[in-house]
Subunit: 188 residues, 2 copies
Amino acid sequence: MSLPLTPMIQSCILHFGEMGSRWGINRTVGQMYALLVLSKEPLCADDITEALGISRSNTSMGLKELMSWELVKLQHRPGERKEFYSAPGDVWDIAKTLIEQRRKREIDPTLSTLRNLLIDSPANADEEYAQQRMREMHELIEMLTLWTQEIQRLDSAQLGKLLKLGSSIGKVLDMKDRLLGGKKETTK
Amino acid sequence: MSLPLTPMIQSCILHFGEMGSRWGINRTVGQMYALLVLSKEPLCADDITEALGISRSNTSMGLKELMSWELVKLQHRPGERKEFYSAPGDVWDIAKTLIEQRRKREIDPTLSTLRNLLIDSPANADEEYAQQRMREMHELIEMLTLWTQEIQRLDSAQLGKLLKLGSSIGKVLDMKDRLLGGKKETTK
DNA sequence: CTGTAATTTCAGTAATTACTGAAATTACAG
DNA sequence: CTGTAATTTCAGTAATTACTGAAATTACAG
């Protein structure tokens, strides 16, 4: 990407910066990633520093963070020491990585905490009630996680096909109901 | 809930406090909500203040925040001015509210920003590429949003039935493939 | 309407997080 | 191996966010 940034690209970067700061990720890292995603060519640290008007060391730390999320790929050019960074070319790959990483950082620890708290038997009525809620939370989170993991298995093409069904997913679910219907549930 | 807190309940509250601080929500608000969820009885502001060892004004601000997320219900007891707060009894209701609110705060503004940026025609090759990425992002986010909205329609009982299928969702998707198969896609 | 208990607001401060610039380290072309 | 360009680390500072206590406001029992 040739610098400096056009207003259009600039606004997009600023927006993702703001959004980033509502997540755990900070503003600058959000901007950096938007910049990388919108760039056709891989960028080096100096490109990013210049484009966003931040310090070189800040760029370094931000890239480290993005690496830890596995959201960027590193490339080298022959005969140059400089490192070039780029985002995956497929947005669904990016989304899958995000989902995966957030699961690891937020969901898994929560599930494990809940499981541990559910091992002990309740000491009184309050704990009994509290454990019941924890059990419900654990079950719900686990189910939702399984579900999204299934969806993550899909590759880009499959996802496209599937989601183009759009809101007719309702129909898919009904279909499932009919299938299950035979088992022993009365409808609803 | 009778105060003070037992170690079990304490740990759960602390965990959700930590998790909360990785989201936009701050530690105290996370703790407050965990406390409310684990409490059988509605709590008043002073109960929360005392249980978490925070200032009364902090409690007030936290409750305001939770109200803005529509995550707590307000109750009054006859003959008392005091206000009592409680979380929904059904964890799926809580999850649905969370999803809904995050959609409103993060997804919708992003979709609208992207749409706006896609209106103008690209000024150069860089912008053309950038717009292409934005288009892909917009499409993906919109599809995922539609999908989760469908799932949000389900009530607790339906969800339970559906998710008890567990990972066999793969089968549901295959099923859909077979249904669609007739149309014109060759498999994969 | 009055008194008071409860809640909210807000300015000030504490705590945390983000960022910079200089120094140290690393990687590699030559 | 040497020199240098690139990257990283880190201590210090800036910026932001969280929290408190006092003052103001609100709600309602009486």
